[in-house]
């Protein structure tokens, strides 16, 4: 038997004021980047998503929260069709990227993945040099010019706040970097191909607090240019980083609103219970 928890105080205020990050209500809402409509998703016979619909705004950070197995990562991996790699996976409904159905039969998945980059839970640098890791996306796209590659590598590493640490060891193995540096390298790698959207699947779950803070600062910077969707288990992180938050539970979208609303004044009692730590 679990002892009954003491009465939960109101959600602890996040370190940074959320209100300042969110868009002011009076301003017209930003254009929609990803439009998800009635998505059902199946792994074989098991249904992982039940009729999910939501709009993801452009150049904002959208956080997906929810307990493990609630389908948030599944939805994220639908955005760049990484689920294609899973045997027996099947999707119903539509996901539009800038008005284009990304599951259309004639769509070029490779082109889609160049427009929708991804950063994974476990940092996964390639067993190559730091330089080659960042240049990888361009090289496979056929860019050969050394000067172009040099420029993009520097720009991306600066964009991922890794340039100062890595500039003297560009041609050493990326596996020699620390965990946090590796994760920022993966972000640099993702932004090198200049995608529209960056998907982040629990990017900080394997990092220590200092490395986490660096990545979070980076997310703030990146949203000026990129639309970011982040899956996280860390609710403070969602509160700190994101403009919009979606709460998933058992494959259903329970509530989707401005981050401030979700954490301060949720409409759904389940959401309130989750964000206040009473379950999950």
């Amino acid at each position: 038997m679990e002892p009954p928890r003491p009465a939960v105080p109101p959600v602890p205020l996040p370190a940074r004021p959320v209100v300042a990050v969110g868009p002011p209500a009076a301003v017209a809402p930003p254009p929609v980047k990803l439009r998800v409509r009635s998505v059902n998703f199946f792994y074989g016979a098991k249904q992982a998503l039940h009729s999910v619909s939501l709009d993801i705004p452009e150049k904002r950070v959208t956080a997906f929260i929810g307990p493990s197995g609630c389908g948030k990562s599944t939805l994220l991996r639908c955005f760049n069709r990484m689920n294609d790699l899973v045997d027996g996976a099947r999707l119903e409904g539509t996901i539009l990227l800038g008005g284009q159905d990304i599951h259309a039969p004639n769509l070029d998945v490779i082109e889609l993945r160049k427009r929708v980059g991804m950063v994974f839970q476990k940092s996964n640098p390639f067993p190559k040099s730091i330089y080659e890791n960042v240049a990888y996306g361009l090289r496979i796209a056929g860019v050969r010019q050394k000067s172009t590659l040099d420029t993009v590598v520097e720009k991306s590493l600066r964009g991922a706040a890794l340039w100062d640490e890595a500039k003297d060891r560009l041609h050493e193995s990326a596996l020699g970097l620390s965990g946090g540096q590796q994760q920022r390298l993966c972000i640099a790698r993702a932004i090198a191909v200049e995608p529209d959207v960056i998907l982040m699947d629990e990017p900080c779950s394997a990092l220590d607090p200092i490395a986490t803070a660096k990545v979070e600062d980076l997310i703030h910077e990146l949203k000026r240019e990129f639309t970011i969707v982040i899956v996280t288990h860390n609710m403070q992180q969602a509160a700190r980083c994101s403009d919009r938050t979606a709460f998933f539970y058992l494959g259903q979208l329970v509530e989707y609103s401005d981050t401030g609303t979700i954490f301060m004044n949720p409409a759904n009692p389940q959401t309130e219970a989750y964000v206040s730590g009473r379950f999950g």
Binding site: M82, N124, P127, K128, Y136, R189, A190
Partner: protein, 554 residues
């Protein structure tokens, strides 16, 4: 509350029970098994190393009187204690094969007396008939006595290199120039046959002008052949002008041409330094020299060359073949019953007797593919029943061994592909790489160390294999190396020599097994050394690649 009865077992466990509970017996069994394996391997290597390395040492010559027979001069090689009716015996290597009809002799130890080590006893390593053991009497040049006594020995040492050189010139002339001439004569004949074939078949009438040219060519070549042969004969006669006259310890006289003296030495008069020099000289001859006396003497260079070249060709063929097959199996094939069956079949292929692969190589590579090549590209040779690729050769032997070792490479590659992290693959795909690009740029480089492990195993297996080679191109004595100075320089159709087959041939097929035994050990040692050397190269390569990328992150 826990009752105290639960803490105290009813009976104290016996020592045996305690032992089993701690698992000590398993530790002892596994440790013992490893120890036994190490002991066996060390013993085997030690046996090979000791016997192989002492082969070149100049052991002292012992002269001894024998009751009921002439005295003996020889190297003491073994003793045997008395056993039942057989008395204790001593073995001598007495050499002088053409005089005694044996190299080794067992004598009852009781008959021997007056052991001594005469300083002037000479051991002569000859081009033919094994070693001669005896005493130098005089030196004759052109039938006249040139020197006697101690001066004869100095003269012998001074004249021997010149005589050897003349003999070598004769051999070179015989082999290289006359060999090339023979090839040109054969070419001319083939031109004739080709023209006949083009005119409608073997024996068809051909353009008389062409026939006249070829006949003239043939006549010119024949004339040149005669002059060369005359020169070679003259050289041979000149080289045997200098002769050394020896006597054996039992008084028989023997004339030996200096040209056939590989080296002459007085082991009993040699200091330690001279012995070392002699040892190194013979070891160098063993590695760099040509075989003599149906392979039981001299060097094994052609066999080393053949072994290394065959192993390298095999590796070059088997690596891409096995890697590509493994990638298809692991990355592209739909994982199901068929792929599982294929995988089982591949694993079991490693258990097929290697001679079966040899038979397959003979049927498929030599008769089918090689015969096809001959019919398509060498019609004239085929008409004369002279196969080019339709007979055993280093290429076919290498391909057969590649088939034999491909399961090793496939299994090792598959393992290393499976070990490439899913994260790295997904990272690549998420950047817009196609599956092929991901395999080429991410999975393949990451699995190179594992692939090299497979190649190392394949090389070790292939280099030591003999049975399939015996029917796909290995010969006891190859007339030429597979690489030489005649166009096209690399002759993949040639037959070749191989250390493994050399061991079998010298050890079990030679008429004089006792004399050949040390040679077998030395060859075995060399083969092991070559396999270790090739492996070391691959291991260094693998470690370099590993160090380059896998510095370890956490």
């Amino acid at each position: 509350m826990t009752s105290p009865a639960l803490l105290q077992p009813a009976r104290a466990p016996t020592r045996i029970a305690q032992l089993f509970r701690r698992g000590d017996h398993l530790l002892w069994i596994s440790g013992g098994a490893l120890g036994l394996a190490v002991l066996l391997i060390t013993g085997l290597l030690l046996l090979v190393v000791l016997n192989g390395l002492t082969f070149f040492w100049p052991f002292p010559l012992t002269a001894v009187d024998r009751a009921g027979g002439p005295p003996l001069l020889g190297v003491l090689t073994a003793t045997q204690p008395a056993h039942k009716a057989t008395p204790a015996q001593t073995q001598f290597r007495v050499g002088n094969r053409e005089l005694y009809n044996f190299d080794f002799i067992w004598v009852p130890t009781a008959q021997l007396s007056n052991y001594r080590a005469p300083d002037d006893a000479v051991e002569v390593e000859r081009q033919e008939n094994g070693d001669f053991l005896g005493f130098l009497q005089r030196l004759e040049v052109g039938g006249r006595v040139a020197a006697t006594g101690p001066a004869a020995w100095d003269q012998l040492l001074a004249l021997q290199p010149g005589a050897r050189d003349l003999a070598a010139q004769a051999t070179t002339l015989q082999r290289d120039e006359i060999g090339a001439l023979n090839a040109r004569i054969q070419d001319a004949k083939l031109r004739l046959v080709s023209a006949q074939l083009a005119a409608g078949g073997l024996g068809s009438p051909i353009d008389p002008a062409l026939a006249a040219t070829v006949t003239a060519d043939l006549a010119a070549l024949q004339a040149r052949y005669e002059t060369l042969r005359a020169r070679a004969e003259a050289l041979a006669v000149e080289s045997v002008a200098a002769q050394a006259v020896f006597t054996t310890i039992d008084g028989k006289e023997k004339k030996i041409a200096l040209a056939s003296v590989v080296r002459a030495f007085k082991p009993n008069a040699m200091g330690f330094g001279r012995k070392i020099g002699h040892y190194l000289g013979r070891a160098a001859e063993f590695v760099y020299g040509e075989p003599r006396e149906s392979n039981t003497e001299g060097g094994v260079f052609p066999a080393i060359f053949g072994t290394v070249m065959m192993t390298l060709i095999m590796s070059i063929v088997v690596t891409p073949f096995g890697v590509v097959a493994a990638f298809y199996l692991r990355e592209y094939a739909r994982q199901g019953l068929i792929v599982r069956l294929v995988r089982i079949a591949i694993n079991n292929l490693a258990g097929v007797p290697s001679i079966v692969f040899g038979v397959f190589g003979l049927g498929f590579f030599i008769y089918f593919i090689g015969g096809g090549i001959d019919r398509a590209f060498f019609p004239a040779q085929t008409a004369l029943h002279v196969p080019t690729f339709g007979t055993g050769g280093i290429l076919w032997a290498s391909l057969t061994l590649a088939l034999l070792t491909v399961p090793v490479v496939i299994v090792a590659t598959e393992e290393s592909i499976a070990a490439v992290s899913r994260g790295a693959r997904e990272g690549s795909l998420a950047l817009g790489a196609s599956k092929f690009q991901t395999i080429l740029h991410i999975v393949l480089p990451a699995s190179v160390p594992g692939i090299l492990t497979g190649v190392i195993l394949a090389m070790a297996r292939g280099a030591g294999e003999v049975a399939p080679l015996m029917i796909t191109g290995v010969v006891k004595l190859a007339p030429g190396l597979p690489v030489d100075g005649t166009f096209p320089f690399v002759h993949l159709d040639r037959k070749f020599m191989h250390l493994g087959f050399h061991i079998y041939d010298v050890g079990f097929q030679s008429p004089n097994i006792e004399a050949a035994k040390p040679m077998v050990y030395a060859t075995t040692l060399l083969l092991i050394a070559i396999v270790v050397f090739l492996n070391l190269f691959a291991i260094l390569l693998r470690d370099r690649i590993r160090r380059k990328y896998h510095t370890g992150a956490f």
